[in-house]
């Protein structure tokens, strides 16, 4: 875990309202595990005040600046513009200063995945799944179900395909891939045979359906959750979720930032999201 003042290498709008940003991040490569995130200070001013959490989408290397030097590491974010912080992030240009704190959180549990991993993403929910796919694609069968409201919400398909990951796209309005909900595609896929594990990230409504489907089919599921965060390190207790079996008498409160953001579905009290 490090807190660094660093530099934007590149910031590109990849689809309407979605950006991909590369940030110089020395040594992050060996530190980041798939599913971990960073807290970004979009501007060194008091407004906006708090940092914003973003998954590490990918780690990459820039060509060395001169012979003999090692290639420079960067981390890549994929983000959606939703409010003030991401609006500012969208305006940042090559060379602009930015502060990142991380890597944070637990990341996916790679050991329990088995041989046949199914990734399920809703829109910007692809963000934590690329590194997971990358870590597994060589040794396992990995497929990706990618859903979105419309064509604009389908991101990074070629990145996954380049890893050799079979990718199935669906959109609510049929503007890209199959027309329909990604959860319908999931139900169908599971009907054809259960994978050894599912990993999901996306809007809570979609995650809940995925959870119901996987629970019914008894497929082990890992979910990457979101919560409002102030600190990202377990200190503020702002980002709590109720763990499975939580009660006032026997509290089981988990921090999304430190105990998560990735949880086994069986460890979460799903009633809280109903």
């Amino acid at each position: 875990m490090k807190d660094i003042q660093t530099t934007v290498v590149e910031n590109q709008e990849i689809s309407s309202g979605y950006f991909r940003m590369k940030i110089l991040a020395p040594e992050f490569g060996r530190m980041v595990k798939p599913g971990q995130f960073v807290m970004v200070k979009v501007r060194q001013l008091n407004d906006p005040f708090l940092r914003r959490p973003f998954c590490v989408f990918r780690i990459g290397f820039l060509p060395p600046e001169s012979d003999g030097l090692p290639p420079r590491e960067y981390l890549e974010l994929v983000f959606k513009v939703v409010g003030r912080g991401t609006e500012i992030l969208a305006t940042l240009k090559t060379g602009d200063r930015i502060a990142i704190l991380g890597p944070l959180g637990n990341g996916f549990d790679l050991d329990s995945i088995g041989e046949d991993l199914l990734l399920v993403a809703g829109g910007i929910g692809v963000a934590p799944l690329y590194m997971l796919g990358e870590a597994c694609a060589k040794k396992k069968k990995v497929r990706l179900l990618l859903g979105g409201r419309t064509r604009d919400d389908i991101l990074a398909v070629t990145d996954f395909e380049r890893l050799g990951i079979e990718t199935y796209v669906s959109t609510d309005d049929g503007t890209l891939g199959e027309k329909g909900l990604v959860t319908e595609v999931l139900a169908q896929t599971l009907a054809d045979g259960a994978p050894s594990a599912v990993a999901v990230c996306g809007p809570m409504a979609m995650i809940s359906v995925v959870q119901t489907i996987c629970r019914k089919q008894q497929v082990p599921l890992q979910v990457s959750l979101e919560a409002l965060m102030a600190c990202g390190v377990g200190a503020c207790l702002g980002c709590m979720v109720k763990g499975a079996g939580h009660s006032e008498a026997e509290p089981r409160l988990l921090t999304v930032c430190k105990n998560g953001p990735v949880f086994r579905d069986v460890d979460i009290d799903w009633a809280q999201f109903a």
Binding site: C231, G234, M240
Partner: protein, 315 residues
């Protein structure tokens, strides 16, 4: 540090040591309760041996689950929180959290509270049995559940009662943390000192609220929450100044400290030490930066002892 390099013949370092009601700190910088967990959360990022003290999350007699989420909302130059004093409870703290703190060469200040008068007393008693706890910080900004939820800290009589009781049960340095949600903070400040407080912390959060206009619902599940961050600094500095005029015990200045200048502002207003709250979330390096910055400021301004700054406002 420019002073050092410019005067190699006579290098000197200012004295940053301060005394809080009998507790000596190597420097006046510490975290504010509830923004630094139990110390270990930031151990990877903050050199714990460098700061003046570690202040724990508020502890209660029994574990407390706090409020439902959402508990956090960002506001202009600040944030609201309604964590609801979630904590592991005093017993679990001593069992699970203290061993780590023991390994750090920095005094531990235990922040604590009760839901009733009696609970305050019991926690104080338990704390006084813990040798690793160097001092206690009594949070009186909590509603008195038995007396209809009136906040202990807004009524000088209730404050006096709870502080006197705690004082009986606790003989090490006792810091009382005041609430800013009050007409005249000096009234409770005086009552606190009379009831036995060795030092005062000013301020806790201002009560605030924020609404999501599309859903028309409060951004915090608890409806209201505590406002902290740079936004409240002018109020905090004013209250520290007022309290410093009213009492003669040491004051710990809290509220919106981000930069070195902010910490110095509190010292000049009359604080002997400062606590950094929300800024830890935004820049975990803040406290280390403040310690270095205070030293550099003293050198630049030729201040041999940081205590010269305390209450040095020139009007």
């Amino acid at each position: 540090m420019s002073g050092i390099s410019q005067q190699p013949a006579e290098p000197w370092k200012p004295n940053l040591q301060v005394d809080i009601g009998g507790l000596t700190l190597r420097n006046p910088v510490m975290p504010a309760s509830g923004t630094f967990g139990y110390g270990e959360e930031y151990a990877e990022l903050v050199e714990l041996g460098k700061i003046g003290a570690i202040v724990t999350k508020g502890l209660s007699l029994k574990p407390k689950t706090g409020n439902p989420t959402p508990r956090i909302a960002e506001t202009p130059a600040g944030m609201l929180n309604a964590v609801g004093l979630q904590n592991v409870g005093i017993d679990c703290f001593v069992r699970d959290k203290l061993p780590f703190l023991r390994s750090v060469d920095t005094p531990v200040i235990a922040n604590f509270f009760g839901n009733t008068l009696e609970e305050y007393g019991e926690v104080a008693k338990k704390l006084s049995d813990v040798p690793e706890v160097a001092a206690a910080e009594l949070n009186i900004s909590c509603p008195n559940v038995k007396q209809g939820g009136i906040v202990f800290g807004t009524d000088p009589r209730a404050a006096s009662e709870v502080i006197s009781l705690v004082r009986k049960n606790y003989s090490k340095p006792l810091i009382v943390k005041l609430t800013p949600n009050i007409t005249d903070i000096t009234v409770v400040a005086r009552a606190a000192v009379e009831a036995g407080a060795d030092a005062l912390s000013c301020i806790n959060t201002l009560t605030g609220m924020s609404i999501d206009v599309r859903s028309r619902s409060p951004r915090l599940a608890n409806v209201t929450g505590g406002l902290s961050g740079p936004a409240i600094r002018p109020v905090a500095v004013r209250m520290v100044y007022q309290v410093a005029q009213a009492v003669s015990v040491p004051i710990i200045g809290i509220g919106g400290i981000v930069e070195v200048e902010d910490a110095i502002e509190f010292l000049i207003a009359g604080a002997t030490a400062v606590q950094v709250g929300s800024a830890n979330f935004v820049n975990p390096g803040t406290m280390g930066h403040l310690v270095d910055g205070l030293e550099a400021f003293c050198i630049e301004e030729k201040i041999r002892d940081i205590r010269e700054l305390i209450g040095s406002l020139r009007i």
